[in-house]
Symmetry: C2
Subunit: 339 residues, 2 copies
């Protein structure tokens, strides 16, 4: 036998028509139990696998989801944010559980992104994953909406857009962090991240944090805010600049764990002790957070659940069903960096 076996080959060997083979393989109740068995046997023998292209072409669906990852640019471009990697893992698993394949593509923020996976029938729907602002892409997202493309985003909800976003309750996460520091009486706090609408998630974290502080008559001094994108490198430099500007603080809230790791590195290098001199708290609870020195106190996002929510909600969208809950509840994980 040259080439792969087709349903016609099976039909030939089984002495039935190709139609019957197709039905038998999909366990249609229309086909006789005996022939069904025979067909399955022969199929196994020939190592037959349904041709997905033919099948997808006919049924007009691909049983595939496309995942577009948007990344802040980093110096080494093979470096991916561990948080997204965790998400990627859970999304893959969630897809596998519902029998969907996953197509992956990394997007350069700058480049034109090829969201044509759905147009070209390669995927039934799209998951967009990235830190923060899809604002730059608003126009394109609107176009997707108009076209009727099924997609979900991870990230902060943008009010003016009707698209479906799944996200963590970042605001509440910020509150948790603030509450914890207040309990520790570490209220002279710095913030490393981006406290502007440009990074809706970071912004929400910051606002939750600061609002909680305000409830206690406190506030983050604006001079103690340093901008950073979500890389250890960026966190390192932002923290270093605070230190070199001789700004004093006894606590530091980092908008993400990677930033926190960079911050700890910068503090330690400057001879500032964590947590004795400065308590550090991060956000995300990436895998390595528990193995930093000292282990990092952080706000945990349940990535397993997040991946599941993204996938199931996208499927609901695809099947035109109503959406389930779409807010992930964060949880404070206390480790040595604030003790």
């Amino acid at each position: 036998m040259k080439g792969k076996a087709t349903s016609f080959d099976i039909a030939h060997y089984a002495g039935v028509s190709q139609s019957t083979v197709s039905r038998a393989l999909r366990n249609s109740p229309l086909v006789n139990e005996e022939t069904r068995k025979k067909v399955h046997e022969i199929a196994k023998e020939l190592n037959y696998k349904v041709d997905k292209n033919a099948s997808n072409l006919r049924t007009q669906q691909s049983n595939t989801i496309a995942l577009l990852l948007f990344e802040d640019p980093t110096k080494d471009d093979s470096q991916i944010n561990p948080f997204f990697l965790a998400m990627l893992g859970s999304i893959t698993r969630a897809c596998a559980n519902v029998g969907y394949d996953l197509l992956i593509s990394f997007q350069q923020s700058s480049k034109d992104w090829h969201a044509d996976y759905e147009d070209s029938h390669r995927a039934d729907g799209i998951i967009l994953l990235g830190y923060g602002d899809f604002i730059d892409y608003q126009e394109k997202l609107d176009k997707l909406m108009v076209q009727g493309t099924k997609f979900v985003c991870w990230g902060a909800k943008v009010e003016q857009s009707p698209r479906l976003s799944i996200s963590c309750d970042n605001y509440h996460g910020g509150q948790l962090a603030a509450e914890h520091l207040i309990n520790l009486k570490r209220t002279n706090c710095a913030f490393i991240g981006d406290a502007s609408e440009h990074s809706p998630e970071f912004f929400a974290r910051f606002n939750g944090f600061n609002d909680e502080f305000k409830k206690h008559g406190l506030e983050i001094d604006s001079r103690k805010i340093a901008n950073a994108i979500s890389t250890d490198d960026s966190g390192f430099h932002a923290t270093k600049s605070l230190i070199s500007n001789n700004i004093k603080f006894d606590a530091l809230f980092a908008a993400s764990d990677l930033i926190a790791i960079g911050a700890i590195s910068a503090l330690t290098q400057a001879g500032i002790k964590v947590p004795e001199d400065v308590a550090v708290i991060g956000f995300d609870d990436i895998p390595i957070a528990s193995f930093t020195t000292p282990p990092l106190t952080t706000v945990h996002q349940n990535t397993s659940k997040a991946g599941e929510m993204l996938v199931t909600n996208l499927l609901r969208l695809i099947h035109e069903q109503d959406i389930e809950e779409n807010l992930l509840i964060p949880e404070l994980i206390i480790r040595a960096s604030t003790r």
Copy 2:
């Protein structure tokens, strides 16, 4: 217009036949410049995208590569080895560069793996990524070979199998690590990892290391070898058991960075100072290696290049061309953990 536009729609508007549309869109030299332009214009207007299923079905190729990730089981299953994540990133990019899509699937070592991507015409070839031993899968890999499935593996070369493996020169990497420690006069060394054929990569690293030691009349004491799989957790516990067994050493070679991170954590907790009391050296150079405390000396594997090598060699396999170089040269990165 309901549904997606097809080439027939374009043909209708352009007043030409569907065949011509197809040719025009693929920039066939057979079609007149003017009609080509017109067709392209209308296609853009209708937001037409070639249906991949139809196209793939006809051409019998998918322009897609499948990536199977084999993972050591971890407690939290959303946790992926950062090294593979880096690989994943570079593979994605390499695929994008050559116009291929990437299908991803995580495999549970235990479960039956669905390597039917190629059988079902979903992918033209497969990349297998995992730490160490595909030995457990040997039988299945042989079956793939027989079927003529195109695939490449990442990892140590297994002599008895003719399959194509791309890997880092782990042996040489081990030598580099040993050489470095010898220069530092830290020769009472422990090894955390798996020094058996069961993990060919770790084994090669260990052998390179130990052989280099032997050249200098030294050797790793077998009592100073502790088994660990490639997780920080596993490295932590392995190191802890050495410590609690009161085994003394002034250097530690970890088979991977994750193990090294766990080891540092265990050492620090036991009041053992890195690098003063024990110099620690890892392997992989994962992104966070430079942000541990202290930053980790490690053997760098160029993941960008590795991803490229995997993809280009797989493509050569698919197109029945000869294979290029397939060994990645490692490089020692010296940081504070051995200073």
